[in-house]
Symmetry: C2
Subunit: 359 residues, 2 copies
Amino acid sequence: MRHAGKQLRRSSIHDVASRAGVSPATVSKVLQGVTTVKAENVQRVHDAVEALDYRLDPFAADLRRSRRRIIGAIVPELESEFFGSMVTALERLAEKRGYALVAATSRESEKREAELIERMHDWRVAGVVLAPVRSEKGSGTALLKRYGMTGVLVDRVMTDDTLDTVSVDNASASAEVARQLVEAGHAHVLLLGLSDESIAIHTRIDSFRKAASQLDPTMKVDVLLAGGDVTALRAALATYFGEHKPTAIYSLFLKGTLVALTEFRRRGWHCPNDISLVGFDDAEWMQVTYPSIAAVVQPIDKMAEQAVDMLFRRIDGLEEPAKAHLEPCKVVMRESVGRMRQHRIEGEETMADPRHHQR
Amino acid sequence: MRHAGKQLRRSSIHDVASRAGVSPATVSKVLQGVTTVKAENVQRVHDAVEALDYRLDPFAADLRRSRRRIIGAIVPELESEFFGSMVTALERLAEKRGYALVAATSRESEKREAELIERMHDWRVAGVVLAPVRSEKGSGTALLKRYGMTGVLVDRVMTDDTLDTVSVDNASASAEVARQLVEAGHAHVLLLGLSDESIAIHTRIDSFRKAASQLDPTMKVDVLLAGGDVTALRAALATYFGEHKPTAIYSLFLKGTLVALTEFRRRGWHCPNDISLVGFDDAEWMQVTYPSIAAVVQPIDKMAEQAVDMLFRRIDGLEEPAKAHLEPCKVVMRESVGRMRQHRIEGEETMADPRHHQR
DNA sequence: TTCATATTGTAAATCGATTCATTTGCGATA
DNA sequence: TATCGCAAATGAATCGATTTACAATATGAA
C-alpha cells in the first residue's frame, strides 16, 4: 500500500513470478485456474499477487490470445434516452459474459459510422452491435461485412442476408396505432417524419396506410417527410397546417412529437381537443405532462438482450443463416388522443370538457 | 481486396516490412513520420501498406509505449440527456486530441464506480473524467488517488485537494432562482431532492436559503429530502402536500421535477395557477409542454471542454495545485413560474389558457 | 531395480508493435 | 589507401501476458 509519488511502474507477471519463486508460465496458469499446479505453489502465487497488488493487463493478455474481450457498440447519438438506455443495457449484458463494452456515437453521420467500424476493427473487438444511422444498407454495414467482423444490427434495420438484425415490429405497431385511431373516429391523419430517416420509417408509413385503408377506406392519410433536420420539419409542418387540418398526428419519431407539440402551442391549439397526437417512442416526461402523450413504447431491454444473445452465439462460432428478429411494441394510449364524435359540430369539442374522452 | 471467408489473419508490420523489402523498424519509422528514411523506401512502405490493407494495432503499439491513447469517462447513468450529452461532448474533445474515449456507467452505485476505476487502471488509460455517484469524497475518487491516476472530477463535486474539479456554479444559480421567486412574490417555497444526492444538492439548498433570507426574511423555505429512490420521494411529497401548500417548488434535480409534475396531476393542481415550479436541469421537452417548465440550464458543453482541457494539461505533465473550476448556469424562466399578486383575482391567469385546471 | 506413466514446472516462442544500440553504405578528407 | 563522419537501415530487446514443447520429478507396476 505504497503511496504513489507518481506513475509508479505496475508490477507485471514477472514480478509476481520471482516473488513467488516460480516461472511466469506457472503464474499464468494459476491465474487462469489451471489445475495442474501444486497446491503449495498456487498459494505462493496468490500471496505474491496480494503482496504486490498485482492485476494483469488485459490488453497484453488479449494481444497474445489475439482476440480481445471487448465488444463495441455504435449508436447514432446519446442525447435522448433511447440509445442511452440501450447502451446501458448492452453494457450490463456484455459484462455478464465477461466482456467490456465500448460505446461510441456516430452522431448521425454515415462517414463517422464507417470510421468507428474501422476503429473497432483495429481494436480487434470480438463483435459489434451497430445501430446504423440510416439502415442495414449503409456504409457501416458494408464495412462490417468486408472485414468479416461478427456483428448484429439493431433498431433502424429490416433484414439482411449476412448479419443478424434486431428491430422493433414497426409494422404491427403502426397497424395498431391505425386501429386505435380509426376506432376513436379519426378520419384524417398526418404522418410526420424525416425523409432521410431509416427504412423503419417507411415501414411505419406503409403499414399504417395499409391497416387504415382496411379498417376505414375513407380515411385520409397525409404524409409529411421533411428533408434535412428538425428545423426543416418544423417549417414544413407550419406550411402544412396553413392548408390542412387533420384530426390526428402520428409522429414517426421522437423529435417529431416535440415538433408537433411546439407547433400546437404556437397556434394555440389544444391537444386533444383541437388535434390528437400519438408518437413513436416513449419518454418519461410524456406521462406527466398535460396532456400526457400517447406513444409507441419500444422494448429497449428486450432488444438489447436479443442483440447480445445473437452476437455471442456468432462469437461462439454458430454457423447458420442470418436471422431477423422482431420485437413487439406496446401502444400506450394517453390523453393526447381524443375520441371524435359521429355528428361533430365544428368547434364543439373545444367547448366541452377537455377530458371527456378519458376511460 | 480479398473477400473474407472468415476471420482472416490481419497483416502485421512484419508483412508490410517483408513486402517492402525493409525491416519492421523502418516501417514503424515511416508510419510515425520519422524523416530519416530514404524517400524511395518511404514510397515502398506506403505501397505495401496499401497493397496489404495494413492498419496497425493500436493496443500493440501502446503496449510498448506503455501508455494507452485512451481516456475513460465514468458517468452515473446514460438514461437522461444530461450525461448523454456530456459523454458525446467528451468523446468529440478527446478524439480531437487523438485519444479515444471509452465510456462506462456506474449505474448510481459507488461499488460499481470503484470497479470501473479499477478497470480503467488496468487498461492503463491516460486519464479519467469521473462524474462521481456521490461526491469527491466517494470511493472512486479515493481509488483514483491511490493509484496515482490522472483524472478530473465533474458535476457532482465541490473542491478537492488533489484532483481538478469542474462543476456548475450551484450557489449562484440557486441564489438567482431565489431572487426570481422572491421577485415574483412567492413567500413559501419547497426545495425537493434526494438525501443521498451529492454535496451539490446541499450547496443548492444552502445558497437558496441564504439568498432568500436576504431578499425576503419572511419567506418560508421547506426542504424535503427523501432517502433512497424516486419512489420514496414521490411518497414523501404526497405526505408533505397533505399538510403544507407552498406557492412554489424548486426541484433540486431532474427527476424531482418529474415527481412534482406527477403529484400536481394526481391532485388536479394546475401549474402555475395553483403552484409554481422551477427545476434544476433543463430538458428539451420542457419547452414544449403546457406549461413550459422553468429550469436551471447547465452548460454541459462548457463543462466538458473545461474537463478535457484540465485533464490534458495534467496528462502533458503540468504540476500545480488542483483547481476547482465553476461554470455559471443560466436560469430560464418559463410558464411554470407564476407571479403572485397582492390582490390576486382567482382564475385570472386561467383566461390566458383554455385549459382550466379543475378536475 | 527398472521401465513406463503421470505430474508439475519451465524455457522459449509468440502476439504486434516501438526503440535503442549497432551496423552498413558511401562520399569526403587526409 | 586508410580513416572519418554522417545518413540510413536493422537486429534485438522490450512491453505483459499466453502457450507450446519439452524437461524434470514423482509414482506405480512389473
